[in-house]
Subunit: 152 residues, 4 copies
């Protein structure tokens, strides 16, 4: 296909491309009129996988921590449909760790599928909760992020 609107490179990824997985059950209302999960819901899967991982690792306190993560960019490529009532299995890795920002890379898999039905990323900038100005990644967060690196 020579359709120039399609980006040439995005491809489904294998499970080995991700370091941790989380099962995210879908909901009735995730399905849109066309019978599959609406694209906006994929981004709520991304948010959920990352925040739940960080909270579970003791690296983020969303209710009262002094540092919060704000999304400055996100992206997703869709390779195959996903639909309620099937679960989604979210794979997560860290792509880049900056001074105050992190690039998370995610793959969403149908249950048991070898390759991702969708792959994307989002970039968090960590800021002070009050001033909303970028701040260095706290040590606990850095440690939690390093555990998400996938060896090349």
């Amino acid at each position: 296909m020579t359709d120039a609107a399609r980006p040439p490179r995005a491809q489904p990824e294998p499970r080995a491309a991700f370091s941790v997985f989380r099962t995210l059950p879908t909901r009735w209302m995730d399905n849109d009129l066309y019978g599959h999960i609406n694209n906006a819901a994929y981004y709520s899967f991304f948010d959920t996988a990352v925040n739940a991982y960080l909270i579970g690792a003791g690296a983020l306190d969303i209710q009262s921590g002094s540092v919060i993560g704000l999304v400055i960019e996100n992206h997703c490529n869709y390779f195959a449909s996903l639909a309620f009532p099937e679960d989604v299995e979210a794979g997560l890795r860290v792509g880049h760790i900056g001074r105050s920002s992190v690039r998370y890379e995610l793959g969403l898999f149908a249950p048991g599928a070898s390759h991702s039905a969708a792959s994307g990323h989002f970039i968090h900038v960590y800021v002070d909760r009050e001033t909303r100005r970028p701040t260095e990644l706290p040590a606990a967060l850095q440690q939690a992020l390093l555990a998400l690196k996938v060896p090349a």
Copy 2:
């Protein structure tokens, strides 16, 4: 700033970069715990602006038309917060029209703001509703899309 996780190029865009606008009121639940609109909601604004434009132009029948648009890629850069109860003003243009696919480019503006608080795109592939196989863009759709082109 030399933080490599931040993409170098995405910048707020002026209103002149878009060909049509639509006001999208926000909802209480769009605001997340951090007090601004959650990123996933931005993609529902994108979906809504595009589909509402196409339906209004007579170029798409979401309930029973034989051709439907499936998202294969989307992306967003966030420059400033938006929050309920303020409206969002969505600017829309077409970036590329392929044989069966279209690249929509969008900017979301605070009311009256000169530059976008967020800019993104999504790529629709138009497929047969039953077979879900790519199909040529119907003539009415092509015409509606051409009206979204912004002169260089």
Copy 3:
């Protein structure tokens, strides 16, 4: 009909039953697999109509006011479908004003329709933002609520 599972009394309401109206555009993802707006979205219309009214009346500061409203009960009866891309017109009145609680009653109308496609209510208890304990309705809120009363 003698089907005991159906409540006997809920009926579509005329526009005169409500004191203020707000137009709430719908979104692509409000439509579910069955082609109409999902019931959960109706409650986000309720939330949005009430909070936007109170904010507009200067009676509620959702970001930093000392008093916030928590929902302790809500309810909806559905008489006819609503669907994207049509707007929803939300009618609002106040049914009861207590010491710390308020019963809001809402009707959702298709554009121009004489009777509601859905009618419901929700009860807010106003609490201190920090302690989350019920507090007397602030004077500005009481005043805004009185304006929502519909003469019998």
Copy 4:
């Protein structure tokens, strides 16, 4: 408390009041500005618990079955907050089975809690997918519903 706006009877329910349970993980965006799960999300939990049960029981085919369930009424009382990242445990029972309608009753529990943080119901009318007219409950559905009855 004598605040007349509060309904006198709704009370948290014990787990024994429900016949089946399903764990529903929460999502980042379920939390609203006030730090707990938004009320509209509770109705998506209700929808999800019921539809997932029926699909799992082979009693409902949401993509192509000839009979679909439409909500004509729903209701919820909120006793305590629930919040991401904690799971929600949804208890489900059937309250009334009519000729073409069913009353589902649900309780949402914090993990391990003895009593519901919220309890509600919704009434489904089962209709023909094409004509949208009420139809008798199919036999497989009736059977699945009987299993949800809680002995008095």
